[in-house]
Amino acid sequence: METRQIRWAIGLFGILFGAVAVAIQIEHGSNSDRALIDFAVGETYVVGGLYAWGRQPANRTWKLMTGTGLAWFIGDYAAAGVPVIQQLAILFADTDAILLVALVLAYPEGRVEAAFDRAVLVINAVGLTATNALFLVTGASAPNLVLGLAVTFTVGVRVPLRWLRAPRARRRILGPPLLAVSITLFAIGVAIVVRLLGISEDAASAILSARDIGVLAIPIGFVVGSFQLVEDELLSSRARIVTAADAERRRIERDLHDGAQQRFVALSIALRVVRTRLGPGARTDVTSALDAASDELKAGIEELRELARGIHPAVLTDEGLAGAIPALAERSGIPTRVLAVPDGRLPPPVEATAYFVVSEALTNAAKYSGATHASVSARLGDDMLRLKVADDGVGGADSSIGTGLVGLVDRVAAVGGRLDVVSPAGGGTEISAVIPLVIDPALSGNG
């Protein structure tokens, strides 16, 4: 079976399983509103989990989420009226809590790596099932509730700590579900205390509903988080493609330099050696033919050098922006001042993108703007490289039509940055770009 069909089958089973559970609850005299909220919570996990599973098939987080939804209804079958089913339902009534803790701890990569988290998982799984078995035999429910409270408290502390320790890029992923989890765990804790104190469910109805709505917010938080996760993965893969392309261009430039360029240079020197050896008494038709060949070769070498630099500037590899931006300004078609460049080295894709922006912006300025002066600045701040290329030309440049500017916008977006063009007619053009120094969120550390 295709995984798509498997997911549909699980979805249908989940709806049936949940519907029967709701019927049992209502039959057993439960408040029908609460039974329906209960149904909505379980199905939100199932449907949300299956949806995110489809988007990220390799990530086990979403299987855990789907499982949590299915297990949500197990406890309801304790009122089924068939002894075997009743006993099994009681024994496995906390499977949803076991899977939910696993889901929370495994999110977002689908792996639980910290030894402490693994221990919590095992204690929770074995403990909750064992205390339910104890309840079946002796009728004592307190051990189960106390363990539930302890795990709830532990995870409730652990989750905000994870968020606090996470780097900024990762907080966007962790934030939505973990916020929902924290609030809900608090409500669950209160609900457990309510039961331990023996307050009747009707009297505690408000807190139980608050818990259920909070529990409903968790799967929604996870799905929102999964959007961010998929977006970050797309950004990472775009950044990787750009990085690989840059590395390839650097290789081609080096090959051109080590190969063809060296040969032509040696050839041009050889021609000059011949010219020298001919001496002053040589036939003028020979020397002028030789000079013409030398000139042609010189032009060819210059074109090849230009081509190699266009593919990937060696100055960028060797010196970073501190060398490359002044080199661009020096070759620019209009007098260009460099106001600021960062002294140290930056990640290669950041340098390559910044170089591309400055290079294209200056080329455009020289071609279309009629400017008499241009300026470039590159400054670091807030984990960002901020570029500004300004000219005093005619303005009127539009990043939505000119292909050169569209290419720039795309190139900067590929590494997670943004580029803006301010170019009022008659008022010069200012191109500013912000490029994050950490372009791959997957590389920005683990929470």
Binding site: H257, Q262, R263, A266, T276, V315, D318, A322, R331
Partner: protein, 126 residues
């Protein structure tokens, strides 16, 4: 025609391209330099330097085991001050920043190499 051997400035050529070394040697010998050694990388350049002590080093920036700037620094650190002329088939703009900080006498782009260009840099290095 040939000038007196003792008056010729002595030169070490360091470049990993054999074709370039051969052509540069012909050209510079014709232009009145005594090419007394050749080397294809930094390590053999150091050895050749120890052995021959030339007045001049024509030094490619990009070598298989490092860059020419490093050799300039190495010789400098050893207390030697040969006149080093850096060269590359890439243009001067590529190396502007490091050239400014280097003790090398100057830079000549390879296809503009000539005895005259080297002499001009020797003059300015004095």
């Amino acid at each position: 025609m040939e000038p007196e051997r003792t008056t010729l400035p002595t030169l070490l050529i360091v470049d990993d391209s054999q074709a370039f070394r051969v052509q540069a040697r012909s050209l510079l010998e014709a232009d009145g330099f005594a090419v007394i050694a050749e080397a294809a990388d930094l390590a053999s350049a150091l050895a050749a330097w120890e052995e021959t002590r030339p007045q001049l080093v024509l030094l490619d920036v990009n070598l298989p085991d490092g860059n020419g700037f490093a050799l300039v620094d190495l010789l400098e650190a050893d207390g030697f001050r040969p006149i080093v002329v850096l060269t590359s088939s890439r243009d001067v703009g590529t190396y502007r920043r490091r050239l400014e900080r280097s003790r090398a006498a100057g830079f000549i782009v390879k296809d503009e190499l000539s005895g005259g260009a080297i002499r001009a840099l020797m003059e300015s290095a004095r």
